[in-house]
Symmetry: C2
Subunit: 427 residues, 2 copies
């Protein structure tokens, strides 16, 4: 890891640069698969499943009996763990329900705001080495709590045409309504346009490689919303001498094992701690099965020594980390002043992996500095707010003249006329 | 207006089609202006201001004295109207504040969600024939209430290098922090990259022509968020014989005068009402200064006769109107079952123009069917939610094993290790 001592604010931009991917070269292939899926639906999806996933499927749909079988093959211990996580995630997301906001802004002018579920949502879960069943909990639980009618899941099949058992188990207990064996670009295209098997959805959620990321971006051009723009995962730890160096090192490594483009940053006022953590990382990394990945992403990473908490905070807000661990004496200062972070983990006994799996918070979070303007996935991500107004005769008399004047000043005579007609009828 | 009687569900797609614009041909010019602004900042912005706005400016900044002068030139009557609207909009948006959501998901596992303001936001207000000062109220008021630190406004100068007085007045009273005489693509590019004069912002709000729309889309590729994808404005009215045909006609026309691509739709179970409204539209349209625009957009529009309320509701939810007026006896049925609409106007005395200006609800709403998945602008549009968790020694003992099991099942050993180390230390 690079060590940087007392950087000047003008150097921050360079120091805080994220490892970026160039995606323009894959836009063309994504676009062409979209066009094919739009035209020929399932046939094309099956063609690409054969090509990319090396399996030929008769049906894209996961059957009831496949789900049952999968469920039976998950160990009881893992089921219990998943159920505990589910219960915590449910509690935290259910608490996010907001009630109707109603205000009589003037006598006879009643306004209110209500949230209603997005009726059709699509969840994408990647395949590959790590079966991310935890992401199903993070997406399907709030979708179900929000009241989404159709919760569609797509995940690529393995070479035997199957989806990981834990994924199917999690999908079933969380209320996913339909599961399809479809991955990658063709899955996103399928949920964007709808096919003979796959329903068209209104919003697509979930992680994926850069093909999936570009496909989700493209989907937004076809009237589909997405959870948020994606980027490589990242963690920033602020720690001082009250932090346990071994714990901090284990957190930095747990982020680093995600992928070679993950980024981890330590910001500290203590040279001694930085030294100790550097040593701990070297010790712990040896034991990791994914040490090659971790070592590469540690190469993208930085140990930054700063002069005080205030400077640390300014630098952290400039970065806007996805995950932010705070392990310092002056904890409240950091909690009050953090403006830009996805999820915050406080103290020596709150590892990032707690939030990744089971504390109850969501792990689908803004990366790439997007914490400056995007929320992580939460209950509201599956709803939209609508406003209502009901104006009485008294009410229109109270605000009518103001509307007429403003409409006239904007040169919109018909807007004025809609009020004038009503006011006249009440004279 | 086209009349359509008892359409079959399979015809709805065709009937509910929106007038669309093709924008791919202007993407290239937008991209090239972005690249120029990124490289040369103010110099390029001034060049394009000369080219597009036909005025050469020494400074892009609106000065204190210009604001003061503008404020003096707005009539007291209009000021009063604006202040009334401001007060209502403030009341309704202030009521949308949510408090911290805190849950102890398990003993020792505290999770909470807090919303924090987006620190830097940019508002775009078009110039042209209608000076949309009302949109400043709709954007700057919630931005200020949310606590955004920098609220930047860009609006194109007229040929004398000035911005409409009502726009400057509204900006001043609503807490805009800086105002720039910059319009179109160059304004969006300026707020995306930052220039010598214009600050870089994190999220851009506001309407605009198709150049501005494409520029906002492009901004999202440079880590800037936008309020929502834009499309032509639209209104759907559901009415029966309890509705006043003259009022309904005036509402349809107030929407139609916005632009030639606006769309208005009437859905009714009453042939008699449809007849009466058709006649009223013909009468009222004659008197409108913007009758040429209104007549063209009325050409895109439809009067649809349906067999009952249930079918009306299904069709309306399929369309997802930006503005939805409900003027029917069976009002509660419509209010309970509407799933997809931006803002809803109820009864004979609630014209759409009330919400456009002064009732208190926001007029920046999802068009083009986006009401299916997007909220209109509201207080939360200027904030993002962050989550926090603090786990005690007792807490990590309670959820540690579940995390270890799940991390292992996902093949993420370092995630497991971060917990194992902590559990070991507590033995």
């Amino acid at each position: 890891m690079q060590r940087i001592n007392y950087p000047q604010p003008k150097e921050w931009d360079e120091i805080l640069k994220r490892p970026t991917q160039t995606v323009s070269d894959i836009e063309a292939i994504v676009y062409s698969i979209f066009k094919e899926v739009e035209a020929d639906g399932d046939t094309v999806i099956k063609k690409y499943t054969t090509q990319f996933d090396k399996v030929t499927l008769d049906s894209l749909v996961v059957s009831e009996s496949e789900i049952e079988q999968a469920s039976n093959s998950v160990s009881d211990a893992l089921k219990q763990a998943i159920n505990l996580a589910k219960s915590n995630i449910e509690k935290f997301h259910a608490a996010q329900k907001t009630s109707k906001v109603a205000v009589e802004t003037l006598p006879g002018v009643e306004c209110w705001q209500e949230k209603r579920p997005i009726q059709k949502v699509g969840l994408y879960i990647p395949g590959g080495t790590a079966p991310l069943f935890s992401t199903i909990l993070m997406l399907a639980i709030p979708a179900k709590l929000a009241g989404c009618k159709e919760i569609v899941l797509c995940s690529p099949p393995d070479k035997n045409g199957e989806i990981n058992s834990a994924i199917l188990y999690a999908a079933q207990i969380c209320g996913v309504t339909q599961i399809f064996k479809v991955g990658g670009i063709q899955a996103i295209a399928g949920m964007t346009f709808g096919t003979e098997s796959i329903p068209k959805v209104y919003k697509i959620f979930g992680p994926g490689n850069q093909y999936v990321t570009v496909a989700k971006q493209l989907a937004t051009k076809y009237n589909v919303a997405i959870d948020m723009p994606a980027g490589p995962s990242e963690l920033l730890v602020a720690a001082d001498d009250t932090a346990n160096p071994a714990f901090v090192a284990s957190d930095l490594l747990s982020q680093a094992e995600h992928g070679v483009d993950s980024q981890v940053i330590l910001v500290s006022t203590s040279e001694k701690l930085i030294e100790a953590i550097g040593t701990e990382i070297e010790n712990q990394i040896q034991q990791l099965p994914r040490k090659d990945i971790a070592r590469k992403s540690i190469g993208n990473s930085r140990l930054i020594l700063v002069k005080d908490d205030k400077e640390a905070m300014a630098l952290i807000n400039e970065y806007g980390p996805e995950h932010f661990i705070v392990c310092v004496e002056n904890e409240n200062f950091y909690l009050e002043n953090i403006q830009n972070a996805g999820s915050v983990f406080i103290g020596n006994y709150t590892p990032e992996s707690a939030g990744d799996y089971a504390s109850g918070t969501n792990h689908t979070l803004p990366t790439n500095g997007y914490a400056k303007q995007y929320s992580g996935v939460n209950l509201d991500s599956f709803m939209k707010s609508m406003t209502f107004q009901k104006i009485s005769e008294k009410g229109i008399k109270g605000i009518g003249t103001a509307i007429e004047l403003m409409a006239e000043a904007e040169g919109l005579q018909a807007h004025k006329n809609a009020v004038t007609l009503r006011l006249k009828s009440l004279k």
